[in-house]
Amino acid sequence: MREEEFYLALKACGIDFATGIPCTVQKRILEFFLADAGMWYVQAAREEEAIGIATGAYLAGKKPIVLMQNSGLAGCINAIASLCIPYRIPLLLLVAWRGYPKDTSEPPYHHVMRRCTVPVMEELGVPVHIVQREDPTLALSHSMEELARRRIPAVILLRRGIFE
């Protein structure tokens, strides 16, 4: 699957508002957000700020997505714990999972968060779905189902090289 199909799958889920901080792993997907006149993309200055912006958009009736890499997700822990979960703000978080593939050139400053990303989200009670090459939209459909049913954020983890 290519990025374009994944982007269209996001749109088909009703996603109509995006914000976040760019990551190289999401460069191609971001191009579709930026080029789409029917999509809001708000460039935040910090990931936690993006959680705030997306929360405002959700309260206003939008269906937001937040894009970032997992290093930035670490800076969102309090916003998820004290805003999204207690206020029941179901945000879709598309997170680049840096540190993969392990055996190549991913730099050492990504190694600790690579390992901690899933356990930290599990401790928070935030569902995590990992995008698989065979069917990238599966992680999306599982996440959308959890957003609707549990009204909490859900994380989709995207490793480098998933799309052809």
């Binding site: 914000t19 935040a44 912006i53 929360t55 309260l59 206003a60 937001p64 916003a79 029941r88």
Partner: protein, 194 residues
């Protein structure tokens, strides 16, 4: 001017159907005591994110007056949001900072706004209208300007207030966060009444 006097002035001057986001700590508690409403989003945790939530609301609801009311400690946690707000420049956003130059909710420790003028940071970022008020009269005049028609914003009002609260022990906002969000959304039609 006491903080609660400033809040009272703001609450009585709000444009019709305004939506308000208040920051964590004593500001939310005083706003709740002065006048609770389903159109107030009390952000009781996440200190620093009130301005960003206000920005998301303002962009998604361009016809509604969006009012952010936060303290100096709150905006200092998210100064980047001043750049983001100024960059997107929603005309319907009013950003009020109640500046007592202290972390008053936690014991009055001095903040950096003791020396740093937040209004000049907002001006430098590019807010369309930046005002400063340190008396009730000045605040009243400033609010008349920012809430004139059509919206001239985004506007920033630095409201200089004294330390101290309307009561020695301010009660917490006695509402459930999930209910606050749901009532807020229902009041603006994002969810249908059930």
């Amino acid at each position: 001017m006491k903080r609660y006097e400033a809040i009272r002035e703001v609450m009585t001057s709000l444009p019709r159907n305004a939506l308000v986001v208040t920051s964590a700590g004593h500001i939310s508690r005083e706003v709740h005591l002065i006048g609770d409403s389903s159109r107030i989003f009390y952000m009781m945790g996440s200190l620093g994110l009130a301005s960003s939530t206000g920005l998301g609301l303002a962009l998604a609801l361009p016809e509604s007056a969006i009012v952010v009311m936060e303290g100096d400690g709150s905006i200092l946690l998210n100064l980047g949001s001043l750049a983001t707000v100024a960059h997107y420049s929603p005309r319907n956003l009013t950003h009020l900072v109640l500046d007592n130059a202290a972390y008053d909710s936690t014991g009055g420790q001095p903040s950096s706004t003791t020396t740093v003028p937040l209004n000049r940071i907002a001006e430098g970022a590019g807010y369309a209208l930046v005002l400063r008020a340190s008396s009730r009269e000045a605040l009243k005049n400033a609010l008349q300007k920012v809430w004139g028609e059509p919206f001239p914003g985004p506007s920033f009002v630095l409201v200089e207030v004294e330390r101290g609260s309307m009561r020695e022990r301010l009660p917490r906002v006695p509402r459930d966060p999930g209910e606050i969000a749901f009532s807020f959304m229902r009041s603006l039609g994002s969810v249908s009444p059930s």
